[in-house]
């Protein structure tokens, strides 16, 4: 391995070369071994590590579905908003500056921010869903450890419009009340997970569309509510509640043809944008959750049942006890005391005594059956959160006084929605129709034929009698609309208090327009008005205003021609010969040997005829036309009893 140089020195160059070769050989082998080790043994693990470094798993969150009105107007939507969070250990070195800036921009107290900076946690929220202006200021400040995260916040562009119906969502986007809660599952957005590549600076790159084609947005919900009519209802209600210093109020507007709820107004208003600042009592949808004794507004339903069962006809007379009737230890009173009244006037003047007697003729079992068929005692099909089923005790438990009380809307608890559903049946020719609040998703249509509660004749009669309440001198005169008929019924229900009924009232009005073939049903309830408590004064004008607005909005308000025609009809549509006959002096009538038929005669002529025979009849009922007589026509004249009195020798029923 060694040689000698010319000078005789030993030559180690060959050995050196060999050593270097061995060294490099070993080094190369070591590298090969290491490469082999890395490739074969650690390869899988290293591959995973590299993937973690180069690829990142990313989630994309969709938007919560919107809530729209029947015309597509947006009632609730989600918008992007920034939330501020803190990584405490990174913010600690400049704690003072961070706290001061955050406090100034976000309006959070300095001490609170400092406390969070001192936290040992790795992540703390400072404030969620801040405004764009605040987010910009935070970004500009470039504070260490302070970051912004994008979230979706719920906005209600119309403020308090239908606030209680819409409900609200919590900070985490979960529906907590109203439609937001009922359709939370449908509207909740999904999330998609997909892998993205990261560059050296950590920026994300989308190299394919894997996982991104999935529709992750929540689905919209479309209501039957019409924003315009809802707004009208809310304004009219607010004006009345404030004017009469009431506690709260409800207005419901229903389209009869479809059963669609066009407006469901609650007062006091609730703005879901600021739900945290509102009391729970204001947030609730009173139309669904509050149970009231409806008072006289329920009377047309009893009348419908009695007409259907053939118990009464509109001209049947009832003795109304001159306005005071004792049942057991209780006394029922009428605000319009009368002796005898036909059924039509019992409704027109809202006689409690007359209604109680009709209910007694009908019987508790039958009345209960009709109330149940009309939907009382059960929830409506709207499935609104917190909806109540009202109070309707079994008929077996009704005492005589209970039956009397329920006849004029006491001792029974109903929600405004139940009341609307029952009158919707009357307006729909006696066939039951479900109320509808949701257009999309559309509920499955009922398979069974709609139940018929009243015959068409019965509902026509009930509507005609309800028209008298408004169009004649009834309690609902303030709901009249020129040029179009309105059917309605007032309610002034004394509210139950400890130990009986107190001095507070629920004023209500149920209105249907046009009266003979209703298109709209409007219900107004004002709770505890103080300046005046009559339903005809407090609630009827609200219903009128809403009706006019709804009719004008849908082009159904009588135009100038229609109104002129309506006015003409009052005088000119009477046949001229008939008019002449009516106005002509009465023909001299011979008083025969038997009692003549005086039914249909004006009272004045009937009295003239009877006075000729020296008879002063007992008059029952109120009106100008004779509708019944006793003795019957053809009977001999009662002799020797010429005075009015207890014997009732000659009785005339008037209407």
């Amino acid at each position: 391995m060694t040689g000698k140089t010319k000078q005789g020195k030993k030559d180690f160059s060959k050995a050196k070369i060999i050593l270097v070769m061995i060294f490099f050989g070993l080094a190369l082998c070591a590298l090969w071994v290491r490469a082999g080790w890395v490739q074969l043994h650690e390869g899988e693990w290293l591959e995973k590590m590299a993937a973690r470094q180069n690829y990142a798993s990313e989630f994309e969150f969709g938007e919560r579905g919107r809530i729209l009105d029947r015309n597509g107007a947006m009632l609730a939507t989600s918008v992007e908003a920034q939330s501020v969070y803190l990584v405490p250990h990174k913010a600690k070195p400049e704690a003072g500056k961070v706290a001061k800036t955050l406090s100034r921009v976000l309006g959070v107290s300095n001490a609170k921010v400092l406390k969070r900076i001192r936290s040992k946690r790795k992540f703390v929220w400072i404030k969620r869903q801040i405004t764009d202006k605040q987010a910009f200021a935070i970004k500009e400040a470039g504070l260490p450890g302070v970051h912004l995260s994008t979230e979706y916040t719920r906005l209600y562009p119309n403020g308090h419009l239908a606030g209680q119906v819409l409900g609200f969502v919590g900070i985490d986007g979960k529906g907590l009340e109203g439609v937001e809660r009922r359709f939370n599952k449908r509207m909740t957005p999904g999330k998609a997970r997909f892998v993205v590549q990261r560059d050296a600076r950590g920026r994300r790159l989308y190299l394919d569309s894997q996982g991104r084609e999935v529709d992750i947005n929540g689905k919209d919900v479309r209501l039957t509510i019409d924003a315009h009519i809802q707004s009208t209802a809310e304004q009219a209600l607010a004006a009345s509640v404030e004017k009469f210093h009431g506690k709260s109020g409800i207005v419901l507007v229903v389209e009869v043809k479809s059963g669609d709820v066009l407006a469901m107004a609650n007062y006091p208003f609730f703005n879901p944008n600021i739900y945290k600042r509102t009391k729970a009592s204001v947030r609730r949808n009173r139309a669904a959750t509050d149970v009231y004794e409806p008072g006289s507004s329920i009377k047309p339903l009893l009348l419908g049942a009695a007409l259907e069962e053939g118990i009464v006809d509109p001209d049947k007379l009832y003795f109304c006890e001159n306005g005071r009737w004792r049942i057991g230890r209780k006394v029922i009173k009428d605000t319009h005391p009368e002796a005898w009244q036909p059924v039509r006037k019992i409704l027109r003047y809202s006689s409690n005594i007359g209604m109680a007697k009709i209910a007694m003729d009908l019987g508790a079992g039958k009345y209960h059956e009709y109330l149940t068929k009309l939907g009382f005692g059960h929830k409506t099909g709207l499935h609104l959160p917190g909806e109540r089923s009202g109070i309707l005790h079994p008929a077996e438990k009704w005492r005589k006084l209970d039956l009397a009380a329920i006849s004029f809307g006491q001792a029974i608890g109903v929600t405004a929605l139940q009341l609307a559903q029952s009158f919707l049946c009357v307006a729909n020719d006696g066939e039951k129709k479900e109320l509808r609040l949701i257009l999309d998703p559309l509920a499955k249509p009922a398979e069974a034929e709609p139940e018929r509660v009243f015959s068409r004749e019965t509902t026509d009669t009930v509507l005609a009698l309800m028209e008298e309440v408004v169009q004649m001198d009834g309690t609902g005169r303030k709901a009249r609309i020129q040029g179009i008929t309105v059917a309605g019924k007032t309610g002034t229900a004394q509210k139950a208090a400890v130990g009986g009924y107190g001095t507070k009232y629920l004023s209500s009005f149920v209105g249907l327009v046009p009266g003979d073939k209703p298109e709209y049903l409007v219900i107004c309830m004002v709770d505890e008005p103080t300046k005046n408590d009559y339903g005809g004064t407090v609630a009827a004008p609200v219903v009128r205003e809403v009706m006019i607005d709804a009719l004008a909005y849908n082009g159904m308000l009588p135009d100038a021609a229609g109104e002129a025609l309506a006015e003409e009809n009052t005088v000119h549509d009477i046949d001229s010969t008939e008019l002449a006959r009516t106005l002509a002096p009465a023909p001299a009538r011979e008083v025969g040997t038997t009692v003549p038929d005086i039914k249909g005669m004006p009272i004045r002529r009937a009295l003239e005829l009877l006075v000729k025979k020296g008879i002063i009849p007992v008059l029952k009922g109120d009106g100008m036309t004779v509708t019944g007589q006793q003795p019957a026509p053809g009977s001999p004249w009662p002799e020797g009893k010429k005075t009015e009195g207890k014997n009732d020798v000659f009785v005339l029923w008037l209407s």
């Binding site: 107007a73 947006m74 939507t77 989600s78 918008v79 992007e80 764009d132 906005l155 562009p157 119309n158 403020g159 308090h160 419009l161 590549q197 560059d199 920026r203 994300r204 790159l205 989308y206 190299l207 924003a227 315009h228 809802q230 707004s231 009208t232 809310e234 304004q235 609309i481 020129q482 040029g483 179009i484 006019i548 607005d549 004008a552 082009g555 308000l557 009588p558 135009d559 100038a560 021609a561 109104e563 002129a564």
Partner: protein, 93 residues
């Protein structure tokens, strides 16, 4: 010297050139791909930003055109809901 022996060098050089060209093309494509990915990302960000702005503008529009606000404005300018008799139908003579 055979024909193969004579053409060996040009063929080797040509193959080397092709390999180099393909390699460069691959690098260029990768760079383009990354550029495209960056652009795509930016466009997506821009789209998201504009979508968010659109929603905010829609909210603002709906807020400005809310029935409550329009009613207040109408009152301010003396406009009210038509009363019976004030409406004229289009088909009237």
């Amino acid at each position: 010297m055979s024909l193969i022996d004579r053409n060996w060098l040009p063929m080797f050089l040509a193959a080397l050139g092709v390999a180099l060209g393909l390699g460069l093309a691959s690098v260029w494509l990768n760079i383009e791909r990354m550029d495209l990915a960056y652009d795509l990302r930016n466009l997506e960000k821009e789209r998201d930003r504009k979508s968010a702005l659109l929603v905010k503008l829609e909210v603002e529009r709906d807020n400005l055109a809310s029935p409550h606000r329009l009613r207040k404005l109408a009152e301010k300018y003396g406009l009210t809901v038509a009363t019976p008799g004030q409406i004229r139908s289009g088909d009237e003579e």
